[in-house]
Each structure stands twice: as structure tokens, then as C-alpha cells.
């Protein structure tokens, strides 16, 4: 019996995957999002090597309006804003995806355990999660970053830690729906142990919601990095990180002056988050149809 089913199952999976990819390629939202994100990923990798000017090069022409040699103008130290916006993708791309990965990995493990085992374990972990969720992000962030020092690593850990309970909730809900399906009791009858059932049997079947959740979380991760950097807790100067640029320059905005130092980095953040959300939307449409 089993020898016949295995090859069938494999090609079924292959067919399903091809269908998914084709569906994604057809989805306008997914493609649009992928283009935007791809653009920023390119610049994140390439960084300051291909920018028209060195993003760190200070000059005497401070706060020059956009135009001429400086398409996006210059900032308070005479640096070219256009180059800084392009090079600014690197720092976010270093932190946000890793933070999301950490949060999703932790949340998935936690959600699988809670959703499958239920009972006492679920109750206790659920309460701890509620407690952590009730904690204002800012308190957690201040403590961690001030105690561990402002660095990329600290940001990743903090954001990942905050995301874990949120992802756990979603995964738990998905697992609850799965655990009563036939294959789970079948596996138990076969004598499989709990970790095997959770990670080998159930996990592949909840990948859909996890992937969607991951992309949504990525958008929030970018947001969180932006907010924490804005408050002074993240990436250090003179990095051309977008949120750092915004936080250093927003006081110049009053009266509409020097708007280019804030608008362009702001647009960069916005387009990246929109791109990620579009990808998430596209994935939802295709994976959950």
C-alpha cells in the first residue's frame, strides 16, 4: 500500500507547487509587490557601490533643494539624499527579514506545541503570551536596547521576541483546525511521537497560513524597525538608514522647510512596506483559494 501511495503523493505535491507558482505569476498584486521589493533588495545588496555619490560624503552645500546635481537635494551635512535613499535599504533589509524569521520560527514552534498539546501546557503558555502582548512594545524595546546596547542584533532579538507570541496565536489557531483531521489520529495510531506529529505531519499542512503571516509580519517588522530607530534605539549614524534620516531631520519640517530630507526616505519606507503587503496579499489570494 505505502509503496504505491508515496510516488503519487510526490507528484501531487509537485503539481500543487507548480500550480501555486503559476497562480502567483498571474496575480497582479503579487507581481507588483515583487517588483517593488525586488528593486529594494537589489539596492540593499549593491548598497553604496553603485550610488551616484558616496552616501557618507559630507560637503559644504548643506540643505540644497532637489535639482541639478542632487536629484533629492542634500541634508544637514551636505550629503546627497538620493544616494542615501538608495543605500538606505541595506540596513532595513539586514534587520527586518531576520527579525521576522526569528519571530516566525519561534512563533511556529510555540504555536505547534500549544495547538497540539492543548491542556495545561496551552493554558500556561497562553497566559505568558497574553502577559507579553499586554506589555507595551516600547518598554520591552527600551529595556533590551538600553541593556544590550544599540545594534542590529539587539533590534532583531527584540522584534523577534515581540512577534513570537503574535505568530504563535495564528499558528495555534491553524493547528487547532488541523489536529482533528484524519491523518493526525492515524499517525498517533501508527505509534508516532508528539514531536514527529507536530513537525512532520502537521507543519507542512499549516505552511500556507504561516507564509502569509510571515509576509504580514515582515511589513510590521519594517514598521517596528522604523519606529525604534526613530526613537534613537537602532542603527547608528552615519548609516543612511531611512528611519534614521527621518528622525534626524523631521524637526526641520516646520513651515514646510527642508521637506526633501524627510519626504524621500519616508516614501522609501512606505513603498517597501506596500510592496511587502502586496506580496502578502497575492500569496493569500493564491494559497488560500
Amino acid at each position: 500500500m505505502s509503496t504505491i501511495t508515496v510516488p503519487l503523493r510526490q507528484s501531487e505535491a509537485q503539481i500543487a507547487r507548480r500550480e501555486t507558482l503559476r497562480g502567483l505569476a498571474r496575480s497582479k498584486t503579487f507581481v507588483a509587490g515583487a517588483v517593488v521589493v525586488g528593486f529594494w533588495v537589489f539596492w540593499a545588496i549593491v548598497g553604496s557601490h553603485l550610488t551616484p555619490q558616496d552616501p557618507l560624503n559630507q560637503g559644504a552645500d548643506i540643505l540644497v533643494r532637489p535639482g541639478g546635481a542632487h536629484w533629492f537635494g542634500t541634508d544637514t551635512l551636505g550629503r546627497d539624499v538620493f544616494s542615501r535613499v538608495l543605500a538606505g535599504a541595506t540596513s532595513v533589509m539586514k534587520v527586518a527579514p531576520l527579525a521576522t524569521l526569528l519571530g516566525v520560527a519561534g512563533g511556529t514552534a510555540l504555536g505547534l506545541v500549544m495547538g497540539y498539546l492543548r491542556g495545561f501546557v496551552d493554558d500556561v503558555l497562553g497566559r505568558v503570551i497574553d502577559a507579553v502582548l499586554a506589555l507595551p512594545l516600547i518598554v520591552l524595546a527600551v529595556t533590551a536596547i538600553v541593556a544590550l546596547g544599540p545594534s542590529n542584533g539587539t533590534l532583531i532579538v527584540v522584534i523577534g521576541a515581540v512577534f513570537t507570541p503574535l505568530v504563535a496565536r495564528t499558528v495555534r489557531a491553524a493547528v487547532l483546525a488541523e489536529r482533528d483531521l484524519d491523518y493526525v489520529p492515524a499517525a498517533r495510531l501508527r505509534g508516532e511521537r508528539a514531536p514527529y506529529i507536530m513537525f512532520v505531519e502537521i507543519l507542512p499542512n499549516v505552511m500556507g497560513p504561516i507564509i502569509v503571516e510571515a509576509t504580514v509580519r515582515l511589513g510590521y517588522a519594517i514598521f517596528a524597525v522604523a519606529g525604534l530607530t526613530f526613537l534613537g534605539f537602532g542603527i547608528q549614524p552615519p548609516s543612511p538608514d531611512w528611519s534614521l534620516q527621518i528622525s534626524q531631520n523631521y524637526s526641520l519640517l516646520a513651515g514646510g522647510s527642508y521637506w526633501w530630507t524627510v519626504l524621500f526616505p519616508g516614501l522609501a519606507v512606505a513603498t517597501l512596506v506596500v510592496g511587502v503587503n502586496l506580496i502578502a496579499d497575492g500569496l493569500t489570494q493564491v494559497l488560500e483559494r
Binding site: 559644504a60 534613537g232 547608528q236 552615519p238 524637526s251 526641520l252 516646520a254 513651515g255 522647510s257
Partner: protein
Amino acid sequence: MDQETRRRLEEYRRNQAGPVENALLDDLLTGEVDRREFFRRATIFGLSTSAIAAALAALGDAPLAFAAPAAVRAGGRLRVAIIPPPAKSLDPHTYQDQGGLETGGIAGEFLTRATPSLTLLPELAVSWKPNADASVWTFKLRPNVKFQTGQTMTADDVVATYLRLLGADSAALSAFKGVLSASGVKKIDDLTVQFTLDTPTASFPYLTSSTTYQAIILPANYKNGTFEKTPQTTGAFKLVSYTPGVGAKYDRYTGWWGGSAPLDGVDVTYYTDDAAVTAALLGGQIDLIGQIQFATGRPLFGNSSVQIFAARGATHRQVPMRVDLHNQLHDYRVRQAIAMTLDRPAIVKTLFNGRADIGNDSPFAPVYPSTNKTVPQRKKDLRTAKQLMAAAGHRKGFAITLTTEQTGEIPQLAQIIQRSVKAININMKLNILTATAYFAGSQSGGPGGLGTTPWLNTPMNITDWGHRAVPNVLLNSALETGGVWNAAHYANKRYDSLVKAYEGAIALKDQLKYSKQIETILLHDTPVIFPYFYNYLAAGSTKVKGYKADALGQVYLSKTSLG
């Protein structure tokens, strides 16, 4: 000069003037000090107005006329923004930040008041005199001054205030250390107080002025913790309500000795964010901002509905480089080279649009008269810098971390320094902490003797220092061997003895002699870079009249009016 004036002057010099005053008059008549500097020192030494007038007339000047203020419109409440809010309770002897000193300074008064040009005006004291070597100072108090509680101010209140200032929990201890102790404060009679100093100090009156912002005169029976509950100062406004972190209200005090302030009252709102306060002024929510930074308040400059108040002062940043670690900074040539990579005029233009004086790597700010300006100004010189690095064996450069705080324009200065030292192959990493983290930790003990706190122990950092009327505290605590704030861990015996000599020198000529030597030593050793001394800035709407910025940040509103 007419007969009468000459006679008065001679009589003064013979009978009243002590050696200090006569030395100053000699300096004026021989041209050692110019007219402006004479006037400044004369106010410090407490020369009477008529003596000053007579002395200046002796030089052929017109007698001084102290103009009466122009007619002002009375009424209205001024809305003031103070940033940041005061921490802890409002006991004046504990003030240690801008929020506290501004909040207290609206209602409180001092024995003397420092003007923007560093002269001293009488406030609660009407006159003051030193003895022959400036080791004993006698202050005569203003009669009939009433506290807002109804009591009349006497010498007992002043003595009690100063004893509190010299107590263990006073935030002003560092200013008085080595100069005055509790045993030296004595009441002579109801309106006379005498200060016997530990060391002769020619600049002592500054310690009784608004520059020592903890020195607000309070009643002798003042109880800690009651400042915000009951109005009990002598100033033109009484503090009637205070909510920590939110705001404060003051009403006009009709019993003020100076008459009646034009404003009905003052409404203070506390802000924590520079952009919010800028927006509030531009949007018409407030009339006056106690302090603005050029870096964050740029939109206010050049705006026709805003007036900028500026006072030249000695607020500055120090960039200490630890001389005692076993790293590349140990060699004085490396420190000199780093200092030579900085284009100071450009830095001042970029960060302050010119509203700052260039520093020459010593605490002697250009605004101090005792600064010896014949010492050559350090300039950007990459060629010499590279030679120095090569001579020290570091032609290939090295890596170093600069630690500092997130305050004002300091992050930008850090980025400029980082960029500048690249020219001599130094790879500088920045570590910018919150102010709380930067000043956290212990300040004594440990391997370096200065504890663990970042600002006193990192190899290279930038710290913000406030304005001081004279450089004494900086020369001592920041650079003397074993100084409590000696972040560079600098130890030079010759420097120490020169500083002692400088502080004891009374005549300007002698001070200049010592300052020249001090400045030269510091230029050679460069334990600390002093890049600039910037102007104190405040901003208000065009409706605000009769307001002057103070180099320290005191918000003095007794003569201010709206329109």
C-alpha cells in the same frame, strides 16, 4: 574732566577704594584694560556707579547714563515653553538641569544678576566689596525686600540659603568646592553678609549670581519640598501651580521690590521634543521658547514671525581622548593630528550657521577676557597631521570607537569628526547612547579611578558642557590631575601649578600671562579637543518685547511685555 569729578575720583581712590579697585583703576588709566573690560570688572568688584562714571569721565568719556526702559504695555499672560521638564522636586539647591533652573528662575532671585555681556548687576545685594586680596567679600543687601510669604528679607535668610547651598545634598557643591565652605558664611548685621573664602578668588561674585542657578535666595525657615506648594521667593512672579512633566503657572507678585512686572502672569508648558516645540511656536500655541538649538530649530531662523534672542557664551562640547590607555591615543602626536583634521570654521558654519566661536582646544573661550588671544589658533592642516601620524608610527592608521550621547547637535559633530579623521586613515566607529546610558554607572574607583561611567572612561567621547562665567571649574575638574571630571585622565604637574597661579591672579595682566602658558601646554598635549563655544539661543514671537537671552538660559521675565 571738570574739577568736581576729579575731586570725587581722588577722594574715592584715597578713602574708599581698596588695593583691588585701585589696581583696576590704574589698569584703566594706563590702557591695560579697555573701557568695556573696565566696566565689566568694575561691576564684579562692586565699584559704585558714581565711581565708574568718574573713572570713565577721567578718560574723556561722557558720564554714563543708565537709560530708563521705554514705556511698555502692561497686561497679558506669556506662554512659555520649557524643554526638557524638570526632574524631581523643585528645591533650588538641587537644580541640575535646564528644566529646573528655568522653572525656578522665573520666580526666584539672586544676590547679583549676570547680564549677557558677563557684567554683574545688583539684584538682592546692592553692593559688594572685596578685601585687599579678594579672600573676604562683604555684601550689602537690599532693604525692604519682601518674600512672597510676607516676611522681609534679612541677612539671616541669605546665610541660611548659602548654608543650604554648601550642604551635602546641594547640586552647587562642585562650583563652591575649594572656594567657600559653610564656616565662611557670616552675618554681620541685618543687611550685611560676609563671605570668607578658602582661597582668594577674584571672580567670587559670579558664584552669587544667576550663573549659579541654585543660589536663589529663600527664607531662612524654608522647608525642602515646599517650593512648588507655596510661593516663597522674592521675584516678580510667584509660582502658583506646578504639575510635573506637564506645566506650571505663575502670577504677578504685587509686592515685588522692583515695582510691578508688565505681565499679568506666565503659563509654562513642558516639552520633551524639539520639533513639537518649534511647531508650537510657529503655530501660535506659545510665545517664547526658553532654549532652542540651531540644529533642530532651523525653521525658526529667517522666519518673519519669529525673533531670535542670542547671547554669546561658553556652552561647549569637549572631545576628550584618554591619554593613559595603552592605545594609539597615548602618543600626543596622534591627538594633535586628530585635532588638526578638523575644519573648525566649516564646522561652525554647518552646525550653527556661524552662531558660535571657534575653540582652540582649551577651556579658554573667546568670550572670556582672560583668554590670551596671542596664542595661535589651531587650523585644519592635513599635511602636518599626516607627518605627525607617520612620526608616531601610525601611517597606516587604526580603528577607534567614539562614544557619545544623543543630545542636540552632538551626533552630527560625531559624524563630522568621523569623516574628518578618515583623511589620516583612522577608521572611527560611532556609538551613540541615550543621555541616560551615557551618564550611567559609577564615577569613582575601578582601574582608571573614575569608575565605569562611559563619559569618564571611554577612549574617546563627546560630552556636553554648560556655560560658565569663568573657566575655573573647567580648568580644575576637567583637566587637573585627579580632577573628578577629568575624562581624558590627563596628569601634568606643570599644568596643575599654572592653574593654581591663574586662579589666584587678580590683575588681568597676570591672568593673561598664565592663560597663555596654559593654552600653549594644552595645544601641545591636546588631551581634549574643544571645537567650539556656541551662542545661547532662544526664540519668541514678534509680540514679545523686553526679553534678552541669558548665556546660561535663565528666563528672566520681569521686564518682558507682550506688545
